[in-house]
């Protein structure tokens, strides 16, 4: 048992007052959760303290909130760990280097609990998920669209494909990623991490027949897949390992493969990086614009209207650093960037070769952790060994005994 102080951002809509902070002292085992702390405060001190919660085990997705500024689930954040983090943050901001006390020591700092971000607050920690989160989810046509009649039995699909989309299926719609999304802070219309992860669940599903349409839709929406700024916040916030940003990147890659030209030339820009470094070993920034919009010799011999337009558009961006002398004129001329020496180039080539050979994403759902793999014991009942026949034999044995 230890003492903690939860500093809760409260808002009572019927009071006529604005939001305010209130501190609750709670007393519980460090391994229990911040939600347990809040429920203790609610049970003992103030029943009007409002928080959505149900399962207490990180499966229902009700208790999304910010703890010490970080979005997550109240039930999945151990209060002892929240205290350590709060102390560390307080220590850092005070510039102190001495070890900070934990586990209910007198000079513990408070654990700060707030409602999720990027959503209107209804009451205390309860936010309006309908107007934000769920509206965005519905935006991505979140249901399977197969073509034609369903087969008599199941759809036969690659086993890996099901495991792959099970990662986005693992989403519990808690909204923690939405709460943490920096792009959405800048552009509230951004479809956002949760809804795009949901979209991947269909795009990656071999049973869905509208993959192309979905990709075009999400790519051409100005608030769609290219609105993500790659900040990783949603990956940090997600309590279920869904890694929404990874799903967004998969959508982008699939869109690129589909030949979809995205408005920011994001995919082409990415490819320009890859190609320039492959050729030179380091980045020739002067080549970035043209390689992004008019890649290779072909692109330069027959530049598209868009590539000309984009090149002209990016001239000020090139001229500004020249004028401020941040870049020398020589560096701004495409093609003059030096190449790495031979042995270093060999290393770069080796990296590219390795990457191409292992052209798969790190996905725990597919790959598992196969180091220290233990062989199953022969008598173990597993899916492989327990065939229907073996089971029937076991049953007849059992009825005889």
């Amino acid at each position: 048992m230890a003492n903690y102080t939860l500093k809760v951002r409260r808002y009572q809509p019927e009071s006529g007052e604005g939001a305010y902070w209130e501190e609750f002292k709670v007393d519980l085992d460090p391994s229990l959760s911040v939600l347990d702390g809040l429920l203790q405060a609610k049970d003992r001190d103030d029943g009007s303290l409002s928080v959505r919660c149900s399962c207490r085990a990180a499966i229902c997705g009700s208790c999304g909130m910010k703890i010490n500024g970080q979005s997550g689930l109240g039930c999945k954040t151990q209060i002892g760990e929240a205290q350590e983090l709060a102390n560390k943050m307080a220590g850092a901001s005070a510039g102190e280097e001495k070890a900070v006390p934990t586990e209910g020591a007198e000079d513990n700092t408070t654990i700060v609990v707030e409602p999720m971000g990027n959503m209107p607050v209804i009451k205390d920690l309860i936010t309006d998920m309908e107007s934000t989160h769920w509206t965005k989810i519905r935006r991505v046509t979140p249901w399977l669209l197969p073509h034609g009649e369903a087969p008599e039995r199941e759809y036969v699909v690659e086993p890996e494909s099901m495991i792959d989309i099970t990662q986005s299926m693992a989403c519990i719609q808690c909204g923690a990623c939405v709460s943490s999304c920096l792009s959405m802070e800048a552009d509230p219309d951004f479809i956002g991490p949760a809804a795009l992860a949901k979209a991947y669940r269909f795009v990656g599903d071999p049973r869905d027949a509208e993959t192309k349409e979905r990709l075009h839709d999400l790519a051409h929406d100005p608030h769609g897949i290219y609105d993500c700024t790659h900040c990783f916040s949603c990956i940090d916030a997600c309590p279920k390992g869904v890694a929404p940003m990874d799903q967004i990147m998969r959508l982008r890659r699939k869109a690129g493969e589909e030949g979809i030209e995205d408005p920011n030339a994001g995919h082409a820009h990415e490819m320009a990086f890859v190609n320039i470094i492959e050729k030179k070993g380091t980045l020739d920034e002067a080549m970035l614009v043209q390689e992004s919009y008019a890649p290779g010799i072909k692109g330069k011999l027959k530049p598209s209207k868009r590539s000309i337009r984009e090149t002209i558009k990016s001239l000020p961006t090139i001229l500004r650093p020249l004028r401020k002398r941040k870049v020398k004129l020589r560096q701004a001329i495409p093609g003059t960037h030096h190449k790495l020496p031979g042995d270093a180039m060999d290393d770069v080539k080796a990296i590219y070769a390795h990457a191409e050979e292992h052209n798969e994403e790190f996905n725990l759902y597919i790959k598992g952790e196969d180091e220290d793999f233990i062989e199953p014991e022969p008598d173990e009942m597993t899916e492989e060994t327990m065939t229907a026949e073996a089971a029937a034999a076991a049953e007849s044995e059992e009825s005889q005994s």
Binding site: A58, Q78, I122, L144, P146, Y155, M162
Partner: protein
Amino acid sequence: MPTHDVLVIGAGLAGQRAALAAAEEGVSVGIVSKVHPVRSHSNAAQGGINAALNPGDSWESHAFDTIKGSDYLSDQDSVEIMAREAPEEILHMEHLGVTFHRNEEGKLGTRAFGGASAARTYYVADITGQAIMHVLYEQLMKYSERVARYEEWFCTALALDEDGECCGVVTRNIADGSMELFKAKSVILACGGNGQVWKPTTNALICTGDGIAMAYRAGAKLMDMEMIQYHPTTLAGKGFLITEGARGEGAHLLNKNGERFMEKYAPNKMELASRDVVSRAEQTEINEGRGFEDGTVALDITVVPKKRVHEALREIVLVGRDFAGVDITREPIRIKPGNHYTMGGVKTDVDGRTDIPGLYAAGETACVSVHGGNRLGANSLLDTLIFGRRSGVDAAGRAKRTEGSRPSKAVLEAEQAMIEDISSREKGSGRRVSEIKLELGTIMDAKVAVFRDETGITEALETVRRLKEEAKTAYIDDKGSIFNQDLLGAIELGYMLDNAECTCIGALERKESRGAQYRTDFPERNDEEWLKHIDLQLSDDGPEISYSEVTITQWEPQERTY
């Protein structure tokens, strides 16, 4: 007055399936849920869903396993229906988009589960319930014009007309506190079980037996309320569930001496015997001093290949890490039996009809009965889908046939008065609602659990009746309208106490040991006297007991060994 042909209360698997089935019949449907549908507790069903779909397996085998698992208390006609319709339902779910695990050929793959004579459990990693429920919610979003969703609306009472037929419900819109009377020709209760009556429990905070209590108060019969499942593998203290899938994948149960004690209790099926058998074995080990000092035994998952654990038991890797500080791939985890499932509930026929015309029940709220004295793992999801669908279809049929009456305003006014009464109690006028809940949960877990006897159950019943009195003066802090969870908690306490009283009465009445009901003072199963259901109906003196026959089709009761 919001009006629908069919109104479903509760939006877990049973409720959503019922709503979609009713909508397909072309009637107007509403679905009311006190939480957003995807927060419903069907999420927690990790392991999978049973169906005899493999060549070589048969519905008879599935039915027999279920009946044997139920300790012959299930009604065999309903079990037959469930087992026969299971394969088609699984395929339907697959077609809707559930990401079921595939075998190497890309076809549906299975895992082994407790009490089953074949590997017939279909699954999505260990998030099967969540995966199916989110897919059903996708369908609800798709058919939003056919099914009106009332998300975060709390149901306080059923409305009956002068002929005693159900014609609507009283609800409170949680967002603004407004009370609304709904009119419906058929009402389906799909509100889940009553696990919160026990503490700890694997059940979510929302599982307060609302549907069972509302039906009981309206005069519907409840059945086999004493049959409460204790799941063999829950985390001590916190009650979190470790899926039976862990044992399905080969995990062992060990006592403190490292002995695989199931050898003594179920030499054939070992860890995969029925849940009641495994829970009793664990509790016996603990009671006889072979458990750990914290009252637990160990579940050893390290014998399962690590890759397989990460692929198929991912959720419990997280549960172990986040809630017990244990890496289950490297060391055993301490577990004990914990409250898990309500086999009993509102008595229904195979189409979900209760004995109140127009009132249906499905899923954990209902007692069809397919689970009898003990539910097999991976049969609960199946129960929700099969009988959810059947209720939806039948409720739609009734709606097409009947005119429906207008519910009386008096019902609404009575509920408004009930709420005003709770809100008007001054601080300190009685006990806090939370205190009463804690006392209730503690006594039920101590006296009406794995092992029971007359003295203990009587003590629990007396406590429950005292708490019922105390609940009448219990006060709340929140007097507001918007998201007043405090008030809802007080109403839920009333539901919980009714559930608890009925369970105690049933447990006291059944003077034998069958399935989850183990009476140390009556340790044998007694088919002569007790191969029958215990029905309870509200009277002026509380639950009135009557009996009904168990339907036997082709499986005569035999001795039950695993």
